[in-house]
């Protein structure tokens, strides 16, 4: 065999291996076995299996569910499958200050344990961002909202200091 023919066979072999590997990753059920996080409904469906092991739970913050106790830095909120009414949700308790992007309806992933009392104790709270990047809305020009925000901050700092 000439070196040229040998190299071409090696090339075809390597491409075949690469293609098969890619197909396995893309169409195999790797995604089923390596799930980065469970949604609330999936976690609840696991029943007892979800207890005690460290797991990740992902979803959106249920609107109106955030309860922040500034004195004890305890945060309670519900992670739901979606923002619609009646979506399955799980109560999460966290003792860390959440990232600044944290708010109602934002996507979150929490790492921690779920127990029989139905509370998910988070020791790592992550917020995920959408793929949208927008300038501040009309009538909300950058400097203005910065002022509004700093006013709000000053105001609440004032209240906190009392």
């Amino acid at each position: 065999m000439t070196p040229v023919a040998r190299n071409r066979i090696i090339a075809l072999g390597a491409l075949l291996v690469a293609g098969a590997g890619l197909a396995f990753v893309a169409f195999g059920d790797i995604g089923e076995n390596l799930v980065y996080y469970w949604s609330p409904s999936e976690m609840l469906r696991q029943g007892d299996k979800a207890y005690t092991a460290t797991i990740r739970l992902g979803g959106v913050v249920q609107p109106g569910s955030i309860q922040w106790n500034a004195e004890h830095t305890t945060l309670h909120f519900r992670v739901a499958d979606g923002v619609q009414e009646g979506a399955a949700s799980v109560l999460v308790r966290s003792t860390e200050t959440p990232p600044q992007m944290f708010r109602d309806k934002i996507g979150v992933v929490v790492e921690g344990t779920y127990d029989k009392s139905g509370v998910f104790s988070s020791n790592r709270l992550m917020v995920n961002h959408s793929n949208e990047y927008r300038a501040p809305k009309e009538g909300e020009d950058p400097n203005k909202w910065r002022e509004t925000l700093s006013d709000a901050t000053t105001a609440s700092t004032g209240t906190g200091a009392k």
Partner: protein, 56 residues
């Protein structure tokens, strides 16, 4: 006793907006510029001397 910065942090919970953070921005640009500059330097150090265009 809580410091002022802690209180400011606490006040922001639920605001959904990042304030400040220029330090992260500068860090990213500085690291990138440093990486590109160091790589350019490594190319300069490894320049072929024997070849005819080593005179450049």
């Amino acid at each position: 006793m809580m410091t002022l910065s802690t209180l400011m942090l606490l006040a922001q919970v639920g605001s959904g907006r990042i304030q400040g953070g220029w330090g992260y921005v500068w860090a990213c640009y500085a690291i990138t510029i440093a990486t590109l500059a160091l790589y350019a330097l490594s190319l300069w150090v490894r320049r072929p001397r024997a070849s005819p265009d080593a005179k450049e």
